[in-house]
Symmetry: none
Subunit: 419 residues, 2 copies
């Protein structure tokens, strides 16, 4: 099955927003066994949209469109589709009821403009929007499927996952595709490639493709294969992973299963702490609350997470976490002595079983000759144990914050598991 993606709206063409929707859809479609032939970004102009759809349908069986469904004048996708399919816009009462509820729940008045959002093409099936007001539309004609969705990423994403891909699976025979991703931390892409070279060379004859997906502090290895028998496809990949494990065991911190939520280090930590019944607290200096943000982005984290202190100025490392002020003049705030005290006092302050503390130089300012930008100390304390480690990251402030968080959480995972 061949798909094409059309994004509608000037904001992509003038570079005001990055087209993350197409990349996201590309991944989902490929994982479902659907090949993406072309991605086209067009302006909010009727003739242009019409010709893009016509071109796309000449090459593809599935045409996915995003954008231009808002209530305002510059949004013309719906009227353009009405013309293309020669089908009028009709009010969908079920969608209207959802729009009404959406506004009522927020204590806002329903305007005439919003009411019009509940209109869909007569020949379409409305796709419900549980996250906003503009419905999607599913249109079938001459064996081809056309889907129009809002451009707001999370509205589009839930339509793709909960409606579009399941419907496609029902109507078309797709090959069995299986992907599994290995998450590593603490080793760079090229070193990883060297370590696993012989194993990697053995993959192609087994019909497995390998992709390296690097991001700050994490390199993901994605294994993909396809076939007609789901269980064969799956065990083929699983065997390859079992062979890989002994080569890079110390770097692997998790796995991502195909079709499930991406596995983040914060979810692995949450699962671990809940399973072990341990309480956790944080003290963050250079990361400024980012690790706490990652932990609290996990629904249900209150089962193990107690809280955090961000003593951004040294004065508050002393006042709130009882760090000995002598340390600031001798070793400095970015030192083993400082993070160890921060971790130990955070442990007590938040009545926790484990506490993590970080202090470093995120940059661009604050560096000295011995402590360049990217120097970070991390400590972890429990009632009877303390561990600390020095890291040297790069020169970019936001990458340093991200790398400190991921490396700290992976250090925490190993600490709790006794690795």
């Amino acid at each position: 099955m061949i798909a094409e993606i059309i994004t509608i709206g000037d904001e992509i063409l003038i570079g005001q927003i990055l087209d993350t929707n197409s990349a996201w859809m590309g991944v989902q479609l490929n994982m479902a066994g659907i090949k993406v032939k072309q991605i086209t970004s067009v302006s909010d102009e009727k003739e242009h949209i019409l010709s893009a759809i016509k071109d796309a349908e000449s090459r593809a069986d599935l045409i996915l469109m995003t954008g231009g469904l808002g209530p305002t004048k510059d949004d013309i996708t719906k009227s353009t589709l009405a013309e293309y399919f020669n089908s009028k816009l009709v009010m969908n009462e079920e969608v209207l009821a959802m729009v009404r509820t959406f506004f009522a729940q927020r204590g806002r008045e329903l305007t005439e403009l919003n009411t019009k959002q509940a209109e869909v093409l007569e020949l379409s099936t409305a796709i419900k929007n549980y996250n906003g007001t503009a419905p999607g539309m599913w249109i079938e004609r001459n064996g081809k499927v056309y889907v129009s969705m809002p451009g707001v990423p999370f509205e589009m994403q839930s339509m793709i996952n909960e409606y579009v891909i399941p419907e496609i699976r029902k109507k078309f025979k797709l090959p069995e595709i299986y992907h599994k991703t290995i998450l590593t931390n603490g080793i760079g892409e090229s070193f990883l490639a060297e370590k696993i070279e012989a194993w990697e060379n053995s993959l192609s004859e087994r019909g497995i493709r390998l992709a390296y997906l690097p991001s700050p502090s994490i390199v993901k290895l994605r294994l993909s294969t396809s076939g007609t028998d789901a269980s064969v496809v799956r065990s083929n990949v699983q065997t390859a992973i079992e062979e890989l494990k002994p080569l890079i065991e110390e770097y692997i911190f998790g796995y991502e299963e195909f079709g499930k939520e991406p596995e983040q280090i914060e979810h692995i930590i949450a699962e671990l702490f809940i399973k072990k019944g341990l309480k956790f607290a944080l003290a963050e200096s250079c990361t400024g609350g980012y690790i706490s943000h990652l932990i609290t982005s996990v629904a249900g984290c209150s089962a193990f997470y107690q809280g955090c202190v961000v003593p951004y100025h040294n004065q508050f490392k002393q006042e709130l976490l009882q760090v000995d002020p002598e340390i600031f003049t001798s070793a400095g705030a970015v030192s083993e002595a400082c993070v160890v005290q921060m971790a130990q006092h955070t442990l007590k302050k938040f009545s926790s079983d484990v506490a993590l503390a970080v202090s470093g130089i995120a940059g661009p300012g604050g560096a000295t000759e011995e402590k360049p930008v990217g120097t970070v100390w991390i400590a972890i304390a429990s009632k009877d144990r303390v561990e600390s480690k020095l890291f040297r990251f790069g020169t970019d402030r936001n990458r340093n914050i991200r790398m400190t968080a991921v490396s700290g959480l992976n250090m925490l995972r190993k600490f709790v598991l006794g690795l």
Copy 2:
């Protein structure tokens, strides 16, 4: 002048890489007065590339292509262009010398494959690559310009800035294009549209285009226009903005100038606090450190930012911020009384001039009948003033965190400015 961008390569179609090249080129071209009509991403297949070029030249005067110039088998852009323009590939001695130097400087051997990279179309002008080995090509035919460039971002970017745009300026008269974006918070897209309807209707006769760009808690309004005189074009947009201001003054929190870094609320806050010489501190419950993360993502924030407490459990709202425990049983932790006490004690604890506190139900758990998911209280305190406000956001945990942060920081901006 109308341009189109064609990106060549499977990695964008399967979502393995995000197409940042097109967005970057979109900004550069628009700033130069060149309108981008379409962006097309195609696979590494000859027929597909040929038809994409043919389509693009039917609409545009300038066709910019990236990708497919590498030395490996899957890179077929050059041979495909040779067929399209019926022009053979010839060795360019000047480019070959550059490739030789490139390899010599890195102590690497020059292979036959690499030598072939110095071949260009006979009818083209080679564009030198000072950052890699694959040259670009500039081709003119029937008054249209075709440019082929490598897909590596920094190689492409220097070709665009140092060769392509200067050459276009020499050969064509370009109009002046101007965009300015107004940032609003606290009002939805459709309510905004109603409030400014008469003003919006007046724009088209002045040659100004308006786009609504919504994201969680923020709606951006982008005004675009073009003309022959830069100062006229600019003042035309500025006049329209001055007329708009009184209609929605209370919602505007900033402006984005085209071609500059996007303006974030945390940068506006940082600038404001540094200018006023005020110290700032935070107490975050439902946002779990996200506001502190936004503030500390701004380089130089230590000039005004003191720190944060995340008392995720009520016990620590009491122990660390002296919230009266009676409140938890009467009004609850998500209440005006609680956030006001949190803000006031954070102010003192961090020796600050202004403190912000938030407490709410991010979801999915923790809701009650009177306090559904999305209920958030925000308070701001200074030595002589306190302000508090109830917000009702949506049902998605991470959007609620984002919306609380943006709304809280905008409330803070108004508090400090006395608005």
